[in-house]
Symmetry: C2
């Protein structure tokens, strides 16, 4: 579970989650995964989530989330990440965070060092040009990036000043 209590997922605005799920399941099958209940659960949860989720968030958790075993979810996450269907984020929490990786969708995040809240930024990411340069000059393959902003949210700033 994540360090800070989650502000229960306000419904996500991703359109047509059903269709996305079908597409992701197809991509997963292409990658060699079997069409199993746990896989469908994990993908569905990640598609519906507005914010990055931890392994603890996804498996055996409070709400209506998956009741699949942690080890199962863990192994699914590893495979899904390897095949590029999801992405892992190294936020400053102890646990790793995961997000669905939809073609053409990319987000950066703004995280509060006080309360741990995670906000998705809907701004144009200014890093793509540099990413291309690095791809050319570094010799690295399959490059992507991760960008997070950290700071103190208004609430925490206030209580911090007190």
């Amino acid at each position: 579970m994540s360090k800070h209590h989650h502000h229960h997922h306000e419904g996500c605005q991703r359109p047509e989650p059903e269709r996305l799920l079908t597409e992701c399941m197809a991509r997963a099958r292409d990658a060699g995964l079997r069409r199993t209940k746990a896989l469908q659960d994990v993908l569905s949860i990640l598609i519906h989530a507005c914010q990055p989720l931890t392994l603890g968030d996804i498996s055996g958790s409070e709400d209506l989330l998956s009741d699949a075993d942690r080890a199962t979810v863990y192994r699914l996450l590893v495979k899904l990440e390897q095949h590029g269907l999801i992405r892992r984020l190294g936020l400053h929490d102890r646990a790793a965070y995961y997000i669905i990786n939809l073609p053409g969708e990319h987000h950066d995040y703004l995280i509060c060092n006080g309360c741990g809240r995670i906000e998705r930024l809907d701004v144009a990411c200014p890093v793509h040009a540099l990413e291309k340069t690095i791809a050319k000059t570094s010799g690295y393959q399959r490059i992507y990036h991760e960008l997070e902003f950290y700071g103190l949210c208004p609430d925490c700033s206030a209580s911090n000043a007190a």
Copy 2:
């Protein structure tokens, strides 16, 4: 310790490490820390390091690093980060990485998903403009950012193709 064996620190190019250490010790004293051997060791190690180091790297490690206890180093790292003398990076390793935080110095990193090698990028960071915008519009205080590029280094690309 970090996931992948370290390619023993090639000497770092930071100029005047002695002076930097003195300055950092002064900053640390200003922050209320006592002038102790362990503190000096930790700061010195981080100043001399070319790349981010884990708690395991810093404490009780192989080379000429600090012989201070892990818990001691851990508590120092926490305090130093709180007071802004060092920064913690959430790279995709299980362990947290730390770097010295020198005024005016900022680096982004390029990390290999295969072997875990970490390269410091010496390019102009394209994020500062966006950072200012976010500072104005979000209401967050004390904003900073973390940017990493991930990919497969030439060696790992080669063995991956095989």
